[in-house]
């Protein structure tokens, strides 16, 4: 029973296109607003220092094969030494950092602001869609779905014999929500559009991390097996030069 319903042209003009346009515009607006609202918090020097130490340790781990074994080992001891190694955090301090993190009102406010700026436009748009565009068939999705999706997709339509492919505008909203992510990354450059909450948490939780990531880095550094690559490079240079000369 796949008879083709003929839908009013007015639906196309006044529902599909405006909804998509509104979502694109809201996305662009959100991008610019988040750029403006990026409040410049004065970074805590201790946290910055620890962050830099982590970066150094990571570089050491990555480029370990380019330095002679002895210097690598001396650097590693400098980092993970028990008494005054930079990466070694005694258990007492570890708890402290987290407590300080939570009680710092500034950080909490920032995280809340970022989360909210993500959630509010979505909620508002969803409410707007529900209020104005409910109770009729909005679009037909070109592929068949099972009956179980009916309640999810055909929200305002109370006929149970209509094909599941005919969906309400709420599902058009969701389709737009997911599909426009790719479009945003093209227009706005560098995946800026649909920053998931994970990324927000990561940026906000920079103070959380020190104790855990320090120990993680230390473990990673301890694991590294050093294999000096430079002797082979001499051979390679020789081969390349030979090719050039001949």
């Amino acid at each position: 029973m796949a008879e083709d319903l003929v839908l009013d042209t007015a639906i196309r003009d006044w529902v599909l296109i405006p909804l998509s346009v509104v979502m694109v515009l809201i996305g662009i607006l959100r991008y610019f607003v988040s750029k403006l609202m990026r409040s410049f918090q004065v970074p805590d020097p201790k946290i910055v220092k620890e962050g830099q130490v982590i970066v150094r340790a990571r570089n050491l781990r990555g480029a370990a094969n380019f330095i002679p074994p002895k210097s690598f080992r001396s650097r590693r001891v400098y980092f993970s030494n028990e008494e005054n190694g930079l990466l070694f955090v005694p258990k007492g301090q570890a708890q402290n950092a987290q407590a300080q993190m939570f009680s710092d009102p500034n950080m909490a406010m920032d995280m809340m602001k970022k989360n909210l700026s993500m959630i509010i436009p979505q909620t508002l748009t969803f409410a707007w869609v529900n209020f104005f565009f409910s109770g009729f068939v909005a679009a037909k999705i070109p592929f068949p779905l099972t009956q179980r999706f009916r309640s999810m997709l055909q929200n305002g339509i109370d006929l149970s014999t209509v094909d599941v492919s005919y969906v309400s505008s709420r599902s058009w909203y969701f389709l737009n929500l997911f599909g426009l992510r790719g479009l945003f990354s093209l227009i706005l450059g560098e995946e800026n559009a649909m920053d998931d909450t994970q990324q927000m948490m990561q940026m906000g939780g920079f103070g959380f991390d020190p104790s855990k990531s320090l120990t993680a880095e230390k473990d990673g550094l301890d694991i590294v097996q050093h294999e000096w690559a430079l002797p082979k490079f001499e051979h390679r240079a020789e081969a390349v030069l030979k090719k050039l000369v001949s």
Binding site: W172, L175, S185
Partner: protein
């Protein structure tokens, strides 16, 4: 890498030593990944519009999506002059990366074009 001169290629050489210790320049790798992602997104949007206009429904549409993705992969491989290991660290990256992300955009534009052309 003496002897090679890439004038204006959008993919940069990311692996230097072809010996036992392969080294990768992360910045170039990331740039290459971005190039793949953009290409796939763009192609999936265009592919969605084409599928909608041509009136593909159901299974045919998804097959068309795979076709478009395969064409994109082949195009990327050709651009990398068939020596994938110089630019990426594994085959899977250039073939499979960005598959799912493109799917949603494809479905959106497919539905859009299909509705505008055929139903209304």
């Amino acid at each position: 890498m003496a002897g090679h001169s890439d004038s204006s290629s959008s993919e940069k050489k990311s692996s230097e030593a072809m010996n036992d210790v392969p080294t990768f320049s992360t910045e170039n790798m990331q740039n290459n990944m971005k190039v793949i992602y953009y290409s796939r997104t763009f192609m999936s949007i265009i592919g969605g519009v084409i599928a909608g206009i041509l009136g593909f429904t159901g299974f045919m549409g998804f097959i068309f999506y795979f076709l478009v993705m395969a064409i994109t992969s082949i195009g990327l491989i050709a651009k990398a002059k068939f020596s994938v290991h110089l630019y990426f660290d594994s085959w899977n990256r250039i073939i499979l990366d960005g598959f799912m992300g493109g799917l949603m955009s494809f479905v959106l534009f497919w539905t859009f074009a299909y509705d505008i052309v055929h139903i209304f």
